[in-house]
Amino acid sequence: MTKKTKVKELDNVVVKFVGDSGDGMQLTGTLFSDSAAVFGNDLATFPDYPAEIRAPHNTVAGVSGFQVHIGKSKVNSFGDLCHVLVAMNPASLKANLKVAERGATIIVDVDAFDEEAIKKAGYLSNPLEDKSLEGYNLIKAPITTLTRGALADSGLNKKQVDKTKNMFALGMIYYLFNRDLQHTIEYLSDKFSEKGEMLEANKKVLQAGYDFADTIEALDSTFQVSPAKLEKGKYRNITGNVAAAWGLLAAAEKANLPLYLGSYPITPATDILVELSKHKSLGAKVFQAEDEIAGITSAIGAAFAGNLAVTTTSGPGLSLKVEAMGLAVITELPLVIIDVQRAGPSTGMPTKSEQSDLYQALFSRNGDAPIPVIAASSSANCFYYAFEAARIALEHMTPVILLTDGFLGNGSQLFRIPKMADLPVINPPIAAPNEPDYKPYRRNPDTLVRRWAFPGTPGLRHRIGGLEKENVTGVVTTDAANHELMVKLRAEKVNKISSRIPKQTVTGAQQGDLLIVSWGSSEGVIQTVVESMAADGKKVGHAHFNYIMPLPTNVDEIFNNFKKIIVAEQNMGQFVNYLRMAHPAFQYEQYNKVQGLPFTETEIKNVISKLL
């Protein structure tokens, strides 16, 4: 029997799936967001999971979540508060109620709220009965019982049956959002192509959840989020780590060079290594090294030998690579270093994100060893900034650091698929066979870039390495004047890149009372707030930096247009101090949050309002 329900038309909705790690919440969230992408919503996602693979059952420490923000207009962030929370056990409810907005629809598996689990979550009484959830639209669904009922005749054991509970919850959500099940069924058919009984079970439970939602009175309205008015073209849902991997493959194709990755697994960067390992058909040479140092040094060897060489890591891994980064600087070889930042210092909080590796990206080497630093600012543009890091490295014969972070790397976003023909060609300065009078450190007078001679090329034999070399000839020398010249040339070569990168742009007000400055993954949330405040007539602008070292050439010009400048970042003030050094004429306020969590729109709004 189908009940008559109201349909609420919404611009955008945030849904969060939470449960015990092992409850399949990451998959559930991914399937919901993929379906939303296929439906045509714009979206952003945020996986929020513990470092432990299976923390103790039913504890707050073991809660795994996946937040999805979908909209019919542009979605810039994964959203502060959720409108719909699906909680598979008491601990996940306890950990996430604070991110549910007042009045939110909360769907719980009521079967999981037994006395022991309630106590283990740290509740003194059952939250489903003690009125603490008054003011929310609480849906108490017997998910476990109904899942087991649906599969009573399946022949599967209890463990197998209970593994499909997440499909019941997903089915309910699909009903709630008027979505069809087609995309998810296709996914399941692919995943369980060898296990017919699991495929049938998952499909059955998914449908059971959908049908259950259709019958209960408490769900008296469903939500309609219409497709977004997106620019024409092809789209897909993509995580930042996958986007970065693909950007590297795109750069290799555009430079007509083989891609070489030397890397060692580390959270949250591992997925770039995992992704590139799949693409041997594109010639990707992926070397899982014995450690971080072998990751980068093997990449330096590959760069010497003429590949587009890359190493990927996260904070502590970058620390291990520092000496080798200096080697790449002095040998002036192209090398892309991707740091998917996480909360530090030391092991810190591996699964939580932060922007606190900027100092080590800029300053960690011994000697004067400048390295260009760029930062991606959305999961989708990890593709373009990985491509850009490779372009700068190859065309300027320098290592380049690309900073992303856990939010960007694991989070996903709608990605408008480019055509390779529309991407710029990359032209590395490769020396031709038997080039007359080749010298390893002879430079292009405009860019100061040296030429790249691959071993094996007839007639260009030379030796380079970590010892200081004479300019032009590359002969080992400790000559005082030559060393100073080489230090200056290396710095000047990097500074000259500023003329080959885009000018800094400002969104919101172009001049006025306050400029909020940021970099990295906070772009979306700050842009959303600034655009809405600027639309309300506030004189606030937003400058979000993707190019950090060297900085764009028009920074002074932009900063002069505002009375006040505040720099917001998820560290203790690394970018603001860098700006104080690079552009000392300005007074900078700072806003810092170091909690392993993203900025919320409310926080940014409050910060801006205080200064206006």
């Binding site: 693909w246 795109a250 041997k280 058909s281 070397f287 090294a289 093997s298 698929i417 380079i464």
Partner: protein
């Protein structure tokens, strides 16, 4: 010498030692064993048959690691301990290169032990010349991981209290396919080992028992010295009985699970009782026993101790790429971008 067959392109003209001389001033101390290593390599490289452009010499840090400057090939002077990791990247980037590593006991067994071990384990086609002088020379005389127990050095004035590592045992312990050990005063044997290393597919480790005339003079004297070597050094040759001694009458037998030094003609021992060296034997058991031998009860074994056939990492690496290229529908990045779940806004 048997000809070398592999995918590295051969030179169309005959090369000489002079073609490989870099012309740079060699700055090792007079009398250093490294000069003999350089001379042997300069003599042997023309015989390998690739032209100079196909060779890459990679090094780490230490006296040994100045090597790339003294040979007219492509060269990369890396950072301390990382030579075999850098060389791995060179070989995977371009398998058409003959990649050599010049390294020392500190560089490859202390700070770079991890990279050395994993290169050998993977059996990637590198040729590693390990200059083992049992001392840190470039930093002026501190003990190294191969210094014998009790060594008195600047940082062990009361003698070292740690047992040394035996490079050959390490190589075979991680599944290494090629190991040779040669004294630095036997240029002929060194040349043979260098040639055999080039010929071998996989990681070849040539340990050179090198003299540091300044900080560790005569470290290997008790078996490589003129007086001592007849009695204390066994030169292994594939297919030949393991004989040594002034009259080549001493030999090795295997009895009750142990090696035994015997004398041919004494106690009824015949030459046919003596063990015959098999460097191609895949089972490393006897080879490890030979590597472990040391005076006073045994001679030190030198020569090519192991040259077993194993798949190489670089061959398997490229086989996977080639087979993926054949079987996958994704032939270019446009294909990849449009693979999987994609939808279109019109």
């Amino acid at each position: 010498m048997d000809a070398i067959y592999n995918s590295i392109e051969k030179s169309s003209k005959e090369l000489t030692k002079e073609d490989f001389q870099s012309g740079q001033m060699v700055k090792w101390c007079p009398g250093c064993g490294a000069h003999v290593i350089l001379a042997s390599i300069l003599n042997t490289f023309p015989k390998i048959g690739y032209n100079q452009d196909k060779f890459v010499f990679v090094s780490g840090i230490g006296c040994s690691s100045r090597f790339p400057y003294y040979i007219n090939t492509y060269g990369f002077h890396g950072i301390h301990g990382r030579a075999s990791a850098i060389a791995t990247g060179v070989k995977l980037a371009n398998p058409g290169l003959s990649v050599w590593v010049a390294t020392g006991d500190g560089d490859s067994l202390a700070i770079g032990g991890n990279h050395f071990m994993h290169a050998v384990r993977r059996n990637i086609d590198l040729n590693i010349i390990l200059f083992n002088n049992q001392i840190y020379g470039l930093t002026k005389g501190q003990f190294s991981p191969t210094s014998p127990m009790g060594s008195v050095t600047k940082t062990s004035p009361f003698g070292t209290i740690e047992p040394p590592v035996n490079p050959g045992k390490l190589v075979l312990g991680v599944g290494g396919s090629f190991f040779a050990r040669v004294p630095d005063n036997n240029a002929h044997l060194l040349g043979e080992a260098v040639y055999a290393a080039a010929k071998h597919d996989g990681t070849s480790v040539v340990e050179v028992l090198q003299n540091c005339i300044i900080f560790n003079d005569k470290a290997h004297e008790a078996w490589v010295g003129k007086e001592a070597r007849e009695e204390n050094m066994l030169v292994l040759e594939h297919g030949k009985p393991m004989l040594f001694g002034k009259n080549m009458k001493k030999g090795l037998m295997f009895k009750n699970g142990k090696l035994l030094v015997v004398e041919v003609g004494k106690d009824g021992v015949k030459e046919s009782d003596i063990l015959v060296h098999d460097m191609y034997d895949d089972n490393p058991g006897l080879q490890i026993m030979l590597i472990e031998m040391a005076p006073p009860h045994f001679p030190v074994a030198v020569g090519i101790i192991r040259a077993a056939k194993r798949d190489t990492y670089d061959d398997l690496f490229y086989e996977q790429i080639e087979s993926a290229k054949k079987s996958s529908d994704i032939k270019c990045v446009d294909d990849l971008l449009n693979s999987g779940t994609v939808f279109e806004i019109r």
